[in-house]
């Protein structure tokens, strides 16, 4: 269908081109219109140039330089030394920092996607759907500082969660002080805080599924579980892919929650992730070159993971 339309458009353009003789004033008008178009685009292009392209180019240049961060005249080009320093087996950037980043992203993505899918499916069956969506969206509106501090209090040895565990005769857990528990504990908060946006997207996706497919399944005797696996999940794949990619990127770039909940990426570097380490290298240690090299490595990792997700999705036929 799409191919037919494109062919028809091409043919029409070719006919127009063959029939119309070159008219100089029209061409001038088109050129003038083109200039006007670019002028209208200029503010947004300028915005992207100043706030996206230039900083990105500067970050690439810094990643190949040594700079203390105070005086632009002191930038010293050192080639790939920063990359060599951070990408060797003895570097803490590879382990534990990159490992932590990937584990944190994976945990928060899995929890957020599964959680939002369950919540969206439940909301679909309830009355007052707007109210429930609003309720689950509230954490997205709240600041990370508030969310982080509330959960930090709940995770304390004398906090709500340990209080409940103690009532059940379970010993207190050092959610943020035990290096084995700290990263998953923060990942839970990251997932909880981002579930609202995912719920909105997934409920919209569920609503977009043709009701007649469900009716046909019901007539064929399919139960709720079978309907979910056979209809809802496959037809939600585009929405799920979007949620998956955005959650994955947010998880890998997470910084504010870590700094609020564990302050220094502790205990014992257990919650130190790439974005926090970049901040630390640049603003605390004055190693802007190292921080920029880390940013480039993280960019490449996110880019590759996103490409893999898109490739898997396309193989499954979502590009239709």
């Amino acid at each position: 269908m799409t191919g037919t339309y494109a062919a028809a458009t091409r043919q029409a353009s070719a006919r127009q081109g063959a029939a119309a003789p070159p008219v100089a004033p029209r061409s001038r008008r088109l050129r003038r219109q083109g200039r006007a178009g670019y002028l209208f685009l200029a503010p947004s292009l300028l915005f992207f140039m100043v706030f996206l392209i230039l900083p990105s180019l500067f970050a690439i240049f810094l990643s190949l330089s040594q700079w203390g961060g105070y005086d632009l005249t002191q930038i010293k080009f050192i080639g790939v030394k920063n990359y060599r320093d951070i990408l060797n087996l003895h570097s803490t950037f590879v382990s534990p920092i990159l490992v932590n980043t990937l584990v944190f992203a994976a945990l928060s993505v899995i929890l957020a996607v599964v959680g939002s899918l369950v919540v969206a499916q439940c909301i679909e069956r309830l009355r007052f759907q707007g109210f429930w969506r609003f309720l689950y969206f509230l954490p997205v509106v709240a600041t990370v500082v508030a969310v982080g501090n509330v959960w930090k209090m709940m995770y304390q040895p004398s906090g709500l969660i340990n209080g409940i565990l103690n009532l059940l005769h379970v010993n207190s857990i050092g959610f943020l002080s035990d290096p084995h528990e700290a990263l998953p504990s923060v990942a839970v908060v990251q997932a909880w805080a981002s579930i609202g946006a995912a719920v909105l997207i997934l409920t919209a996706g569920i609503k977009a599924i043709d009701r007649t497919i469900y009716e046909a399944a019901e007539i064929d005797g399919a139960n709720s579980w079978r309907t979910f696996w056979g209809i809802t999940l496959p037809l939600l794949r585009p929405s799920l892919l979007f949620v998956f990619i955005t959650q994955c990127i947010a998880g890998m770039q997470s910084f504010a929650l870590i700094i609020v909940m564990t302050k220094d990426g502790g205990p014992a570097n257990a919650t130190n992730v790439a974005a926090f380490e970049m901040y630390q290298q640049a603003f605390r240690f004055g190693a802007w070159g190292t921080a920029s090299a880390m940013a480039m490595v993280l960019f490449v990792i996110i880019f590759i993971i996103t490409l893999i997700q898109l490739w898997i999705s396309r193989r499954a036929g979502d590009d239709d």
């Binding site: 200039r35 002028l39 105070y70 005086d71 803490t92 010993n171 014992a268 603003f283 605390r284 240690f285």
Partner: protein
């Protein structure tokens, strides 16, 4: 002919360029000093934004402003947690303040990046000759550059709860590591679920890099140091023995990082803690009548007769990019040497009132004697100024200190093996 949209492109582009350049110049001028009608206004960036420090420093600045109408000082404050970032961002944007207050640990980094002006010879001579050796060392780089006048200066000692020690059968604080381990073990108490009721010895403190300062105090008691003047590791077998001591203490359950001493010591939940002298003021406020149970002693060494402490300081220096460096140094010289009727500098008086050691020796001699007579717990703190190791201020000092904290965290939290952690730490510091 129809005129082109938005006029001629050349004129528009020229206007945009001029407007942009003007905006940049104006914004660059916004944060620094200014001068009009022969009057100079200096900006002073510090972390003294909360009372009582804010009121104290404002009083001194107001005094200067009223007696020096041609050189006015304008205070700018941020929270301590934001101080280094603010220094960095404003300096890069050309909006750095004329006078900077900074943690001495960052001094090497700031000096290496050309942020700090070298003080006049008389200022450097005053600091080297008339200030406590540890305070002067804290604000002097390995190459001998003085960053500025030392201000907040403090030393680390062992705080102990006399009642908890007495309950465990001890009438004196420990004077060796063996005694330290013994008392820590005997004073530790846990409930049936394994939760701490009393922690024997706390090896952490509030704030950044919690484990570093207590470790460095113990390290000083062995006679060894942390970093060489160039920032390379100076950690030796003595340092490894301190790490081993901390490892033994955590394995015996006498210490933990899950209890914050600033919260639990006042409620009799910690028997001993290695902390800075400023803590006395907080303990008095929090413990009220129970403060009588608090004692202080030098941080013990591996053998009897040895003791150690870490000294840290802040400093006030002048921005190398300031247009009024001379006036800025004049103000700082006045701020740190103008004496009150008691014969001590007003800065020294202000610092002592806020629980800090006056870094100028003459001030400490006069004020220290009075304060120690009122509270004997201050004596070990003032005495430590004579033997304490100044915190390293090498350009990589902050990074190295963070690496030290992470290594100690591995020992205290993960129970990591000492040998491997120690060797990894040295390698990490030397990679800079």
């Amino acid at each position: 002919m129809r005129p082109a949209l938005f006029g001629r492109p050349g004129r528009t582009a020229r206007f945009a360029l001029v407007a942009g350049a003007a905006a940049l110049v104006l914004s660059a001028c916004g944060g620094g000093s200014g001068s009009a009608n022969g009057k100079v206004t200096l900006t002073f960036l510090s972390h003294y934004g909360d009372e009582p420090m804010k009121g104290g420093i404002s009083k001194l600045i107001n005094e200067w402003n009223s007696s020096h109408p041609d050189v006015q000082v304008k205070q700018q404050t941020v929270k301590f947690d934001d101080l280094l970032t603010t220094l960095n961002v404003r300096q890069t944007g050309g909006r750095g303040a004329d006078i900077l207050s900074s943690y001495a640990l960052w001094g090497g980094q700031l000096a290496a990046n050309g942020v700090l002006d070298k003080p006049p010879a008389d200022v450097a001579k005053d600091i080297a000759g008339n200030y406590s050796p540890a305070a002067a060392a804290a604000v002097t780089s390995g190459s001998g550059q003085v960053f500025g006048y030392p201000t907040e200066f403090n030393t680390y000692v062992l705080f102990y709860n006399k009642k908890l020690l007495a309950d465990a059968g001890y009438t004196k604080p420990p004077s060796t590591w063996a005694e330290l381990k013994d008392i820590a073990e005997k004073t530790t108490k846990k409930d049936s679920s394994g939760n701490y009721k009393v922690e024997g010895l706390s090896l952490i403190q509030d704030g950044d890099n919690q484990t570093a300062h207590p470790f460095l105090s113990l390290l000083n008691s062995t006679g060894s140091t942390f970093l060489k003047p160039g920032g390379e590791s100076a950690l030796d077998d003595n340092a490894k023995s301190v790490m081993q001591l901390e490892s033994d203490l955590v394995k015996s359950g006498s210490t933990t990082t899950s209890i914050m001493p600033t919260k639990n010591f006042p409620s009799n939940g910690v028997a001993m803690a290695i902390q800075a002298g400023w803590w006395i003021g907080s303990l008095k406020t929090q413990m009220k009548g129970d403060y009588k149970n608090v004692g202080t002693a030098p941080v013990p060494g591996p053998e009897a007769g040895k003791k150690g402490s870490l000294a840290y300081a802040f400093f006030t220096g002048v921005n190398a990019r300031s247009k009024h460096k001379q006036q800025a140094w004049q103000f700082l010289t006045w701020l740190n040497s103008n004496k009150n009727t008691q014969g001590v500098t007003e800065m020294g008086d202000f610092l002592a009132t806020n629980g800090l050691i006056p870094p100028r020796k003459a001030d400490a001699d006069i004020l220290g004697a009075k304060l120690q007579a009122a509270d004997p717990n201050l004596t070990p703190i003032y005495q430590a100024a004579d033997y304490a190791m100044a915190e390293s201020n090498a350009a990589n000092g902050y990074k190295a200190k963070t690496s030290l904290h992470n290594a100690l965290d591995k020992i205290l939290v993960n129970h990591a093996p000492v040998d491997r952690t120690f060797n990894d730490l040295i390698a990490e510091i030397n990679r800079k």
